[in-house]
């Protein structure tokens, strides 16, 4: 009897947690296909995939008030790709240096890369906006990219640093002892061994850029409309359209994060978007 009680309590817990976690996601999905949804109906009265079709540029109809997101989507992807290339090009050498060398003032450098995680970043964006306005970078794609690089670089340095740390120094030393140069030892030994970690780091930087909202809000608006900002500006007047964009952002984040999560430290994954 006691066992049955315990089992059913556990099942009730499972169902409750399941509903609470899944509820908001279901709401998002229902809204993305709702043609008519007047309360107090618990479910939409009429279903349509027109918002999806329209958002993806497959259909043009002025009746439902949605616009194509293809341009915002392309812009977001391009910014994210450029951000990954630049941020990783800067992060990999830094992560490597911090892992392999004893560096004077190393603590101060560590500090610099830790601060953005310890303090709210919004005031920093506000001050960057002031400077960018003076030098003509606010409301431009390079300006937004610099912000995304800033957000991604910190994670990039930490993840690549942890990756290089996990490779025993004896492997490079062995290569050096048979005559390889420092660069060759890095290129032939450490780099291939670190590849999975570096790849995960790049994917993570890509996702932080794709999902970045706060910095882009200050630096990019009103001229640069990335996908998260298009989501924001449509959420006030077109619930369906905003839900479609939200789902388009949600899917890659969840899939890629599930793939790379094992390589990442738990604390990195919390601060996205």
């Amino acid at each position: 009897m006691k066992r049955i009680l315990k089992k059913s309590a556990e099942l009730a817990l499972l169902v409750t947690v399941f509903l609470i976690v899944i509820g908001p996601m279901v709401s998002l999905f229902l809204w993305s296909v709702a043609q008519k949804w007047y309360w107090p109906h618990p479910l939409p009265q009429a279903i349509t995939f027109d918002y999806w079709a329209q958002a993806l540029g497959l259909k043009t109809s002025l009746a439902i008030g949605a616009v194509s997101i293809v341009s915002a989507f392309t812009l977001s992807i391009l910014i994210a790709l450029a951000t990954v290339v630049i941020a990783m090009a800067i992060a990999i050498p830094a992560g490597y240096a911090l892992a392999k060398y004893k560096i004077p003032f190393g603590t101060i450098i560590l500090f610099l890369f830790l601060l953005p995680n310890a303090f709210p970043q919004q005031p920093v964006f506000v001050n960057i906006l002031q400077v960018f306005t003076k030098i003509g970078l606010s409301g431009t794609i390079p300006g937004v990219m610099l912000i995304h690089i800033l957000v991604g670089l910190v994670y990039g340095v930490w993840i690549t640093n942890a990756t290089f740390r996990s490779i025993p120094p004896s492997m490079e030393e062995a290569a050096r002892s048979v005559g390889a140069t420092a660069f060759k030892a890095f290129y032939k030994i450490s780099l291939p061994l670190a590849a999975p970690g570096l790849f995960s780091s790049a994917v993570f930087v890509f996702l932080t850029s794709l999902d970045e909202f706060t910095g882009t809000f200050f630096i990019g608006l009103p001229f640069i409309n990335t996908l998260p900002l298009t989501l924001y500006s449509s959420s006030g007047y077109n619930m369906q359209f905003a839900s479609v964009i939200a789902l388009i952002l949600l899917v890659p984040s969840v899939i890629f994060m599930l793939l790379i999560q094992k390589v990442l430290k738990a604390e990195y994954v919390g601060g996205m978007g």
């Binding site: 800067i90 310890a118 920093v124 969840v254």
Partner: protein
């Protein structure tokens, strides 16, 4: 590590790490350290006016936003506490019960962690609305009268959103810590007659104190700094959070002085957690180097 480097490098040549670190450090100094320092300095200057340092921005913050500062603090403290308690309970459950139900639950729990805040905000926007899915579902169960639906674009809804996103995140960190504790400790406590609550409170939680604190520190500072969720859920309604006020100050008034003073208030709120975080991370890094 360095044993292979010396001698080859003459006195005048720069050590290799200088070149490797230069781009990243320069970028961080220009794009992070300087704006950070500037945000503190600017909070003592009235924007657009010549003149010395002044506390006028802080006076304005006190006059206009003291309720919002209290609101931000209340939301943060309440949610850190809520997240801490619930996350510890679930982590203990996942540690002690390993069956299909708990495996399924922990898989579901992973989802919110990976969903970006802007998407969470949109979800909560539709889910918690007066006639949103939550209210209509509760009405079906007879728990809510739809003529008077739950109003959730306030403290309660904001807390639901934060808890929804942060409890799974905290579980990820805390459960990781619990997994490091060997079964033998739990069995030893049980064999001398310890009941479940005392196993939890006197063995598991004390042994896992550090990861619980890390989780809470991160949750606390993230909630204070989050702009998206309060902005999309509460917006300009009163009371709202500091982050929303900063955006209003900048977007509507171009008043960087008061915006920065508000920013400094948020720095002060995270001072202790930031100090703890920085100290523990630097200690961790030093230990790794000396190994």
């Amino acid at each position: 590590m360095t044993s292979l480097q010396p001698k080859m490098w003459g006195e005048r040549k720069l050590p290799p790490y200088v070149l490797l670190l230069f781009p990243a450090v320069t970028f961080m100094v220009l794009m992070y350290a300087w704006p950070f320092i500037s945000s503190v300095l600017q909070s003592f200057i009235i924007s657009g006016k010549e003149g010395g340092l002044t506390l006028a921005n802080y006076v304005k913050v006190w006059e206009l936003y003291r309720k919002d500062i209290a609101f931000t603090f209340a939301v943060t403290i309440f949610n850190t506490f809520l997240v801490g308690v619930v996350a510890v309970i679930f982590s203990v459950y996942f540690r002690l019960r390993q069956n299909r139900v708990s495996a399924l639950l922990s898989a579901i729990f992973k989802l919110p962690i990976f969903i970006p805040f802007v998407v969470v905000s949109q979800m909560m926007n539709s889910f918690l609305a007066p006639h949103g899915l939550l209210n209509t579902a509760l009405a079906q169960l007879g728990l809510v009268n739809l003529d008077k639906p739950l109003q959730l674009f306030n403290f309660a809804g904001l807390s639901f959103g934060f808890a929804w996103k942060q409890i799974p995140f905290a579980v990820l960190i805390i459960h990781g810590g619990f997994q490091m504790i060997d079964n033998s400790y739990i069995e030893a406590a049980r064999s001398i007659g310890a009941k479940l609550p005392s196993v939890i409170l006197r063995v598991l939680v004390p042994m896992n104190k550090s990861s619980i604190i890390v989780a809470l520190v991160l949750v606390y500072s993230q909630i204070i700094g989050t702009f998206t969720l309060p902005y999309m859920l509460i917006g300009g309604k009163v009371p709202t959070t500091i982050t929303v006020d900063i955006a209003h100050r900048v977007n509507y008034f171009r008043d960087f002085g008061v915006a920065n003073a508000l920013g400094v208030c948020s720095y002060i709120m995270v001072l202790f957690t930031a100090a703890y975080y920085l100290r523990s991370k630097i200690k961790e890094a030093r230990q790794e180097v000396s190994q």
